[in-house]
Amino acid sequence: MSETPAAVLEPTAIKVAKEIKYDASPLIACRFDPTGKYVFACGQDNLVLRVDCDAGSFTPMKGHDSWVRAIGFCVNPARCWTGGYDGRLIEWDAYADSPVPLRSTEAHQGWIRSLDVSPDEKWIATGGNDQAVRIWDAGTGQLRHTCAGHDRHVYSVLFSRDGETLYSGDLRGVVKRWNVQSGAELATYDAKQLYTPNPGQGAEYGGVRSMTIVNDRHELVCGGLHNGSNPFGAVQEPLVVVLGCEDGKAVRTHTAKDATKGVVWRVVAHPQGFLIGGIGGSGGGYLCFWKGDGETEFHRFGLPNTVLDMDLSRDSQRIATVHYDRHVRISQWD
C-alpha cells in the first residue's frame, strides 16, 4: 500500500463503482494485485480466481483441494501466493494466461488461515490450525523457520513495515511478535478482548481475524469480534483493538455504532489516517471508517450483501469486497 495517495479524498464520498458476479459459488477472500488491474478472489468451489476488474471476467486457477482464504503477492517476479484450508501453500505466475501452480508445498497440518509477504518480498509468512507460524523463503520456497508458541489456531500473520518483525494472532486473542531473521519469539501481546468464549454452548469463539499497522503511529491494529452472546447464532459485534507495535500496550478500541452485529473480517489502514473495517454478519455487510480516538465509526458504508473479505488497492483509491451473493464489488471514492 502506497504511503502517498494520488489525491486527497473525502472518506464519506464512497460508492460502489462495479459489481462482478461469479455464478458458481459464494466468494470468501479477495486481494488486489499490485497493479490494481485484477482482484484475486476465492470461492467455496476451491478455485482461486483472477478477476479482471475492467473486463469483469474470471480466470480460474486450480490447485487447491479446499477453500482458500490467504492471498499475497510479489512484484518481482510477479507471483501470487495462496494458502488453503488444505494446508497447501501454492506459488503462481500471477499473470499467465492460464495460471498453474509453479510450486506447491504441504505447509501446515490443517488449514492455512493467513499469509503475508514481507515488504522486501524475501519472505512469506503463514499461520494455521496446527498452531504454527511458518516463515518461507519466497525465492526457493524453502521453510526458514517454524515459530511455535501459540496454543490455539493462528488466525492472522503480518510483517512489520521494516520486515524485521512478524506478528501473529490466534483464536484466543494472543498476539506474538517474532524476529524474522532468527524465528525467535520476542514478545506476547494481549488482544483478548477479541476472544469471547461461550461455555454454555461449549464454544471457543473470537480470534484475531485480521491485522494491519498504522506506521506513523506505531500501532498494531487487530480486527475481529466481541460480545459473542450466541456464537452459534451469529450474535456478536465487530471490534478493533489497537495496541502499541513495540510494547503491546492497549491504546484504544473501535466498535460499530448501535452495537450493529457482525465480524471485522479485514481491517486496513488508509494513508490519509483512517481505518477501514470490512464487516459482515447478521447486521448485514458494511464498511466502517474510524479515525483518531473515536470509539465508533465516523462513517458507515452499507453494502448490498454480507462482506466476507475486503482489500484496499495499493493506490488507496479503491476497495474490493467479496460477498455471499457471489459478487466482487469495487467501491471507490468520487
Partner: protein, 432 residues
C-alpha cells in the same frame, strides 16, 4: 444397500441362547424363593442379570452433528464445505477428514446414511430420536434408555439401569421414563460427577447407617404386610436401589482409571466422560448415554466442527477400541445420534442450519452388521436415494439388536403399551 465389508457378531449364538435360558431359570427360582419384588434384590440374580444383559451406549451429539462434516462427506461439491474425505479401513467407505481416528475403526462401525425424520425442531427431534415416536400432547413416551432398562429388568441391578453423562448441570433423576415408572428413569451425572447425595452424611458411620436401614426395612415390612400397593413397592424399591447405589459409589469415580487411559481418551470433558462410560459399562451398567455439546452451528459451522468433531473422534475411537479389546463390544450396542443433521446449504454466516431430511447416524457393537454403510444420499446430500429409514425403524432396530422383541408390549396399569411404535418395524438389512 450395505457398502463395504461386513462381519457378523455372535450375539444370537447357541451359547448366548443357553445362557439366557439359564438366566431366566435363575430369575424364576429367585422370585419363587423371595416372593415377589424382593427377588430382584438377590445378589445371585442381580449378578446373573449383570452378566447376561446386553449393554447400550448412546452418544447424543447435542444440537445436531453435521453429517457432511462427519459420516457422509461430499467434498468438491457446492454443499461439501472445506473439508476433504478420507478413506477408512473399510474399502469404499470414506468419512470426513475430521475423523482420522474413527477412520481406523470403521470395520467396527455401521453408518446409516439415509435417515429422514422430517422434524427440524430441537426438542421434537430429540424426542423422536430418543423415543422412536413423534411427540404428541396425548401421551409421553419413555426414552430408549428407560425402555431398555425396563425390558431387561434393570431394577434388580446395583447400578441404575439408565445413566446419563452430561457436559454440565447437576445430578439427580430425570423424568424420562414416562409410564414405565421412576425406577427406570435416568440418573444424571452432571459433568461426570457421581450421583448427588450418595455419600453418607457427615457424622453418620457405616455402622449407624446399617442400623438405620435395618430399622427402615423392619418398619416397611410391617407396613407392607397390611397395605401393600404398587406405589409402596416402588417406594421400597427406590430405597433399596439408593442403598445399592451408595455401596457402588466407586463405580462413578473416573479418577480410579489409569492416567494413561485418560491421556489416550483426551484430557478434556468428553475424554473423561468416555472413560467414565467405559468404567460404568465394565461395572455392569445397562445403558449409558454420553452427551457431547454443542453442534448447533448456524454460524461458523466449520470452525466449530473442527473443535467438536476433533474431540469426539479421538475419545470415541479410543473407547470403541477398548470395548472391543475387552470383549464388551460383543454384548454392547453403541449408537451415535443427534436430533437431526445439518443443511447441505452453507448459509451466509458459514453456518449450516437444521436438516432432518437426509442425515446420518452411526452404530457399533452387537446385533448389527458392522463394517460398512447402509443407505445413500445424492451427490449434494440433499435427499436420500437409497435405504431411507426413520426414527421409528431405528428404535425397533436398537431393541432387536440387543435381543429384545420390539413388537412386545409393556403391561402398564392393566393395559398393554407397545415398546416401540407398532406402525414401524426394525431394519432387517442391518441386523446381524
Amino acid at each position: 444397500m450395505l457398502q463395504g465389508n461386513s462381519c457378523r457378531y455372535a450375539c444370537r449364538s447357541a451359547e448366548h441362547a443357553l445362557a439366557r435360558r439359564q438366566f431366566l431359570g435363575q430369575m424364576v427360582a429367585g422370585t419363587l424363593a423371595a416372593g415377589g419384588l424382593g427377588a430382584l434384590t438377590s445378589p445371585t440374580i442381580a449378578n446373573a442379570i449383570a452378566q447376561q444383559h446386553k449393554r447400550v451406549l448412546i452418544f447424543f451429539m447435542s444440537g445436531g452433528l453435521s453429517q457432511l462434516e462427519s459420516w457422509d462427506p461430499k467434498p468438491g461439491t457446492p454443499t461439501g464445505g472445506p473439508f476433504r474425505a478420507i478413506p477408512t479401513n473399510v474399502p469404499g467407505v470414506h468419512v470426513s477428514e475430521l475423523m482420522p481416528h474413527i477412520a481406523t475403526i470403521m470395520d467396527k462401525l455401521l453408518l446409516v446414511r439415509g435417515v429422514n425424520t422430517s422434524e427440524d425442531d430441537h426438542g421434537k427431534g430429540q424426542y423422536l430420536m430418543m423415543t422412536g415416536r413423534r411427540q404428541t400432547p396425548a401421551e409421553e413416551h419413555p426414552r430408549l434408555g428407560a425402555v431398555i432398562a425396563k425390558a431387561q429388568h434393570a431394577d434388580g441391578l446395583d447400578l441404575p439401569g439408565y445413566i446419563q453423562i452430561t457436559p454440565g448441570g447437576g445430578g439427580g433423576r430425570s423424568a424420562d421414563a414416562a409410564y414405565l415408572g421412576p425406577q427406570f428413569a435416568s440418573v444424571v451425572l452432571g459433568n461426570g460427577n457421581p450421583p448427588s447425595n450418595t455419600g453418607l452424611s457427615g457424622g453418620v458411620t457405616e455402622e449407624t447407617d446399617g442400623m438405620r436401614q435395618t430399622l427402615r426395612r423392619h418398619l416397611s415390612r410391617h407396613f407392607l404386610a397390611r397395605r401393600r400397593t404398587a406405589q409402596t413397592d416402588a417406594y421400597m424399591q427406590s430405597y433399596e436401589q439408593a442403598q445399592r447405589l451408595m455401596q457402588r459409589r466407586d463405580a462413578f469415580d473416573v479418577t480410579k482409571e489409569p492416567e494413561k487411559d485418560l491421556q489416550r481418551y483426551g484430557e478434556y470433558d468428553l475424554g473423561r466422560h468416555c472413560l467414565l462410560a467405559r468404567r460404568l459399562l465394565e461395572q455392569g451398567a445397562m445403558c449409558v448415554q454420553v452427551s457431547h455439546s454443542n453442534y448447533d452451528t448456524h454460524n461458523e459451522n466449520f470452525d466449530f466442527h473442527i473443535e467438536q468433531v476433533g474431540e469426539f473422534d479421538r475419545s470415541f475411537a479410543a473407547l470403541i477400541r477398548d470395548l472391543d479389546d475387552r470383549g464388551l463390544l460383543e454384548t454392547t450396542l453403541v449408537i451415535v445420534m443427534s436430533e437431526f443433521g445439518r443443511t447441505p446449504n452453507i448459509n451466509i454466516y458459514y453456518g449450516r442450519d437444521h436438516w432432518s431430511k437426509a442425515w446420518s447416524i452411526a452404530m457399533a457393537g452387537c446385533g448389527i452388521q458392522v463394517g460398512g454403510a447402509f443407505g445413500k444420499t445424492n451427490d449434494h446430500g440433499t435427499e436420500v436415494v437409497d435405504g431411507q429409514v426413520d426414527h421409528g425403524q431405528l428404535f425397533h432396530t436398537y431393541l432387536r439388536a440387543i435381543g429384545i422383541d420390539s413388537t412386545e408390549n409393556f403391561r402398564i396399569g392393566g393395559r398393554d403399551v407397545p415398546m416401540a411404535d407398532p406402525s414401524r418395524g426394525a431394519i432387517d438389512e442391518i441386523l446381524a
